[in-house]
Symmetry: C2
């Protein structure tokens, strides 16, 4: 059953009432009808003690479906409180990729205890999965999959699906391997249904469906799913042995994660910051970025400090200083955002980055002239000082051009240095446009005042 927003609110009210009255049977009844994702949503909206209490009412199978859907905070609170035996039972029921993620979040002690209790075969599987970098194909793959030998026929493949269906719920393909376990090809369920039962499986396989190496970054994996419209992708080692598969639902989560990461990094935020974190955690996470920003702002202050005498001669300069810096910074942010997004989507590459730079430079000069002229005229009529109008217009042209250039170069350089192009890039771009904007504006003013007054 899917829940509309209104229903969710109604359920939440009902649930809180039942918790108050200790009506556990009604709660268990309600949970029996709900999708695990909806149960997780309800639990996420409760207080810590209520969360732990309600979660304890779920049977092992339901609990194993709900855990991956919980918010990070709820999951942490609930796992912390759980006995090792109960935890092991639940993890035993989970898909291997989700299980490995949960174990990775436990304390080392808890993790070892759990791995000791669950079935040895599954425990080996999990230890294997946990070796891979969590941001790689290996980190998001699961070991549950259906595979048959290349000598099998279609009937064997159908039987393989039937036999494993109790354990795996989301089968989209059967993978075909040789004796050595090397991936030969993939057959989607649709093709399996169409094929004659006695056909050799090797005749029906789709060799064009790609596979991915276990070490490839998850962002690259997401791009493959997007490009080739995939629902499942086999993962292989460097010799082509089939290790696991990645399904689209995990990729969707990766995409959301990478999007948050990009947005946060542009703004100068820690990737695990969250609206509902503990306030002191948020304070601690944001403060270093604010101090970094303070540092860059003090560089600007230093630049202005050079020109105190100039400002004393013409206080109107102080009035327009922030205009030069602000609009230049905005032009830089615009370009920065386009480049960061283009890099994330794979549209901007090493080959075409030069073309991008030329184009942005041209756009920067044109927009600089368009804004510079207007602001110069406004300043002249406002303050009646011709020099001010000219200097402001010129500085604006220069700073919008510089902002656009820097907004292009910073993310490209970070990428070239194999760092994340989005990392705090907004702070660096505005640091540059601020300092340079003040320098060009006040510097030009100092020269013009010296020459013409």
């Amino acid at each position: 059953m899917s829940m509309e927003r209104k229903e969710e609110i109604k359920y939440l009210g009902q649930l809180k009432e039942w918790i108050g009255l200790n009506r556990e049977f009604e709660i268990i009844d309600l949970f029996a009808d709900l999708h695990p994702a909806d149960i997780a949503d309800l639990i996420d909206n409760l207080e810590e003690q209520e969360k732990i209490h309600l979660f304890s009412l779920l049977d092992v199978e339901k609990a194993s479906d709900v855990i991956p859907e919980l918010s990070d905070i709820s999951r942490e609170q609930i796992l912390e409180d759980m006995s090792d035996t109960k935890l092991a039972e639940i993890i035993d029921e989970m898909d291997s990729d989700d299980a490995a993620d949960v174990i990775a979040e436990l304390t080392e002690e808890q993790a070892r205890a759990v791995l000791d209790v669950i079935e040895p075969e599954e425990s080996e599987d999990l230890k294997e999965l946990m070796k891979y970098d969590e941001d790689s194909a290996g980190g998001i793959m699961q070991s549950e999959l259906v595979s048959v030998l290349e000598t099998a026929n279609v009937r064997d493949a159908v039987n393989a699906v039937i036999n494993i269906s109790d354990e795996i719920e989301n089968i989209y393909n059967v993978f075909v391997v040789n004796d050595a376990g090397v991936l030969i090809g993939t057959i989607p369920l649709q093709k399996l249904i169409i094929a004659k039962r006695n056909d050799a499986i090797i005749e029906t396989i789709d060799k064009s469906i790609p596979s991915v190496d276990v070490d490839v970054d998850q962002e690259e994996v997401a791009r493959m799913f997007e490009k080739y419209d995939l629902v499942a992708l086999p993962v292989v080692d460097s010799s082509g042995h089939l290790l696991g598969r990645i399904t689209i639902d995990d990729v969707v989560d990766v995409m959301e994660e990478e999007t948050s990461e990009d947005l946060y990094r542009i703004a100068g935020l820690d990737e695990d910051d969250n609206i509902f974190n503990e306030p002191f955690q948020s304070i601690k996470k944001r403060l270093p970025w604010l101090y970094l920003n303070l540092l860059t702002a003090l560089v600007s202050a230093l630049v202005i400090g050079f020109f105190e005498d100039t400002i004393k001669m013409m206080v109107a300069l102080a009035v327009f200083m922030p205009v030069v810096a602000g609009v230049g910074g905005n032009a830089g942010s615009q370009t920065l955002t386009l480049i960061v997004r283009g890099l994330a989507l794979g549209e901007v590459t090493y080959e075409n980055s030069r073309k991008a730079l030329y184009k942005q430079t041209f756009v920067g000069i044109a927009n600089g002239v368009a804004v510079g002229l207007v602001v110069g005229i406004i300043a002249y009529f406002w303050k009646g000082i011709p020099i001010l109008g000219i200097v402001l217009g010129l500085a604006m042209i220069i700073n919008i051009f510089v902002g656009t250039l820097i907004g292009t170069l910073i993310p490209l350089s970070l990428k070239w240095l194999k760092s994340d192009p989005a990392l705090g890039s907004h702070i660096f771009v505005t640091a540059f446009t601020d300092a340079f904007g003040f320098f060009s504006f006040l510097g030009l003013a100092a020269i013009f005042i010296k020459l013409f007054t």
Copy 2:
């Protein structure tokens, strides 16, 4: 065949050489082996005339697969040049959702000509699809699907899949409807394979798989796929009649689109701006945002203008003005980004927004004190003026607090006004922190100077 980056470069060089030598057979051979998405990538990297030439070498079926994968710019260039008959043939081959998108991009004249030429039944389908808002479930659904009556058995459903497999490549589910066409349930292919051929289909259906109303926004659709780990979702009208289906590959595209939209709107960019647009288009698209920013910057200038006399008395104020404004703006951007993202992911809701506001307020005050103390001390030691240190520290505390508050309130208010919470919100937040930062800093300075000197 999947293409690695290096291979793509090799192919591109090869392709350009062959184009120069007019070796059409080699090119056709190469294209025969490549995935449509890879062909689209290669074409995207060519000059306009080469694009049109190479595309004309594709047969109708391949062409229909390549068109949806092309970049917007390439597609526009290629479609503009194509004859109505060729276009109609290609569109006839496409999935209805892609076909409707392509027709929507044509001139009215071209569109009418194409709809007249293609099969009447398909033409009706397309006209039907094109009625829906392009950002709604109806706008991204396709009419191609497999459905059987509730009186059917599993064998009928299997036969339905077999019969339609020539036309539809990505079948994941069979939908079950009653006489009136109302959706009763869904059965995934995996379950179809497991079930006995003589079982009634009604016994095997999964009633818990959700459906979506045709008018629901695509962002909401994407959230449903994410929450319930779906690969296909039936679309129904208000009386429950099955109209079409949405598949995960389209949802992945929606997610990328919505992410770009959020990022662009925060930065003050048009959603269809792109690194490789025509320069004059980019200039035209970005200029209004820069002028808007100029306007808000002039408001700040106006605020500073009030205090020209105060600045004349203590020029050091001009030096630290941008520090107050900049760091406050950064604190605002951090909060803004968290709220916009939280709203997009459905984590921030009407009910918990008050909690979010209280928390952000607390974080704002704490970070304000942490940064304000440091900057006050620095200013005192740098300039040796006690008043400057005190005023700067106080103004910084106030402005970081205000930035955090405004960064929370602006996106929440936009959401409450049913507008996009991300729309130009960065410009508005910094406009506020700039103006307010200057006002509090210079205003406090004016008061302190009056009182203590």
